[in-house]
């Protein structure tokens, strides 16, 4: 029955659009995913991540464009014919079936013989560490346990493409780390292709072969974790990659690749990322890269708050014009102290106002 469940070389999204009445949730996605790739779909809430997964899984018809597995068109197939595994954002566990039955459902639908079914369900239960909960109903599980059942249920059928919608959002930090490794391990051992939706940049960076950043239903940037981490192409992508500080300034010149930006009277250097029509530009800096200079260069701020962060201190400073800057400091600072902050030119990204 599952036409799509054979292996494939490439999954193509070609101008995939989805409209809800007048609202366009996906504005033409173009993306090619290689077999075996782990793709992280990153983006703010409401940007269309779930919609994109639903379109790929066949749960929502596309309003335009095509989805192809190599040269076979799959957007015309029903979800049960595509055979893609899916972990739902709200788990969608069958409330009337035990954990074991939930996980075995897909195998049963595929007509897998009972002994093999039991063996594979046991293996899946072990992979998500739920052996002791096998006979419970979903309503008797904690949120994190339900989430793990949802993961096990999707992967036990070994689908060629697994779609995961924030599968770890409800777990504690330790379990999240363990499950992250487990997902990565399962992905590698099955040789399956995974599209993984997350809000968490750290999760995306550590798991993915490539990251796709989505915003307002359109792809903003596609790249390897290293590319996105070091050189986000847009200000909003930078925002997602942890460039928490954004300071408005004025372009005063270029020196080779470096842009010179005047911020409240102080000139700092940064990498130019997006051209500017006028002189206005924004500098984006990670808190970890911004440190007190200890000299009389750098942006002057008044320290508002200092937090102990184990390896060092995290400070919040306010510039003369009231812009908040988050920075790292190896030594403690007094509240109200005046310091100057600076960062390596390679760690400062300058975005023109022409976004």
């Amino acid at each position: 029955m599952t036409v799509g469940a054979t292996t494939f070389k490439q999954l193509h999204l070609q101008g995939v659009r989805r409209e809800f009445d007048a609202f366009t949730a996906l504005k033409g996605l173009d993306l090619t995913i290689e077999r075996g790739e782990f793709i992280a779909l990153l983006g703010p809430s409401g940007c269309g991540k779930t919609t994109a997964l639903n379109c790929i899984a066949g749960l929502l018809p596309v309003s335009g464009g095509r989805i192809m597995l190599d040269d076979r068109r799959v957007d015309v197939l029903r979800p049960e014919e595509r055979g893609f595994g899916m972990v739902f954002q709200n788990y969608a566990l069958f409330p009337h079936m035990t954990v074991r039955k939930n996980i075995g459902f897909g195998l049963r639908m595929r007509g897998v013989p009972k002994p093999e079914l039991e063996k594979r369900v046991d293996a899946a239960l072990a992979a998500v560490r739920l052996e002791s909960q096998a006979e419970k109903l979903p309503g008797q599980l904690s949120g994190g346990q339900q989430q793990r059942v949802a993961i096990a249920r999707a992967i036990v059928v070994e689908p060629p493409l697994v779609l995961m919608d924030e599968p770890l959002s409800n777990l504690d930090a330790k379990l999240r780390l363990e499950m992250r490794q487990e997902i990565r391990r399962i992905h590698q051992s099955l040789g399956s292709t995974t599209i993984y939706v997350t809000h968490d940049q750290e999760e995306a960076l550590s798991l993915a072969d490539r990251i796709v950043v989505l915003r307002d239903g359109a792809i903003r940037q596609v790249g390897t974790p290293a590319e996105l981490y070091a050189l986000p192409a847009h200000l909003d992508v930078a925002d997602f990659m942890g460039f928490r500080n954004r300071v408005n300034g004025e372009l005063v010149g270029m020196e080779g690749e470096d842009a010179l930006l005047n911020i409240e009277g102080t000139v700092i250097r940064g990498r130019m990322r997006a051209a500017s029509a006028g002189k206005a530009a924004v500098a984006a800096i990670r808190p970890d890269d911004l440190e007190p200079t200890g000299t009389d260069s750098g942006i002057p701020v008044r320290v508002e708050a200092v937090e102990y962060r184990g390896r060092g201190f995290h400070g919040v400073g306010v510039t003369a014009s009231g812009t908040e800057l988050h920075f790292a400091s190896p030594y403690p600072l007094q509240r109200g102290a005046a310091v100057r902050l600076g960062a390596d030119a390679g760690r400062v990204l300058v975005f023109g106002d022409a976004r």
Binding site: L59, P95, M109, P138
Partner: protein, 300 residues
Amino acid sequence: MSAVLEGRAEGPTLRQRLAARGIDGATLLVLPCVALILGLFIYPFLYGLMLSFEPKDGSLFGNYARFFSDPFLYGTIFKTLRLAFPVTLLNLLIAIPIAFRVRLMRRQRLLTTLLVLPITLGTVLVAEGMLFYFGPQGWFNRALMAVGLLSTPISVLNGYWGVFISLVLTGFPFTFLLTLSYVTGIDPSLENAAATLGAGPAARFREVFLPLLIPGLAITFCLSFVQAYSVLPSAVLVGDPAGATRVISIAAYQAAFEEYDYSMASAIAMIMGAVQLLVVVAVLGCRSLFYRGPAAGAKG
């Protein structure tokens, strides 16, 4: 109230302990309801029960003995069952597929309003309408004769099928609305999950929807059945009240208002109640074999 109950030094306060057992201020709200049930239901019921044991002939079980020895009387139980059972089942079987379709529709409000109308009209008006529609000069016969399917008018009315149709018409909206509320109560993402796991439409219905619906359908069946079992107006107006559709409420009515034997009428009402209770208990008993929790993919 809180000032009095709180402020004890140790352990949970009386109020907290009561709340732990589900008793709090809101519990008082059931009191008017309890009074109403006592006054309008329990008292008349007990009164009727007592009355039924005081027959004209003076013996304790005289009425019941008479009822179960006279086929003209005990036959009404089965005549009513023969109507109420198939009608309820048919209504349910029609309601399910339509509810599954309507669940996906946007303008459910309009449809619901349209369906509530026959409920508000009541059985009498529907029966009157049927008298015209199915009568010898009604559209039904004239249309069938016009296309040549009939040569002389047939009589649908004044018999089993007249009452059957009337019960379907008046009972369907109720059955449907109840079924719809149960069907729409099922989280649609469960169906999606089943689909991505390879279940086709039939398997999704069998494995996901049906098990989650059965408890609700059982209740729908019971309520619709009780309604159909107490049929009176249409059995008289479009049925054959002396023969095929001499339902149990007709027997009670005749005992009360033609023979003026209120004791006998009470006994018949008690028997009627017992039959309904028996069916309801049987159906709900079967229900307990199935899952009965919330029909959503629980989260959190």
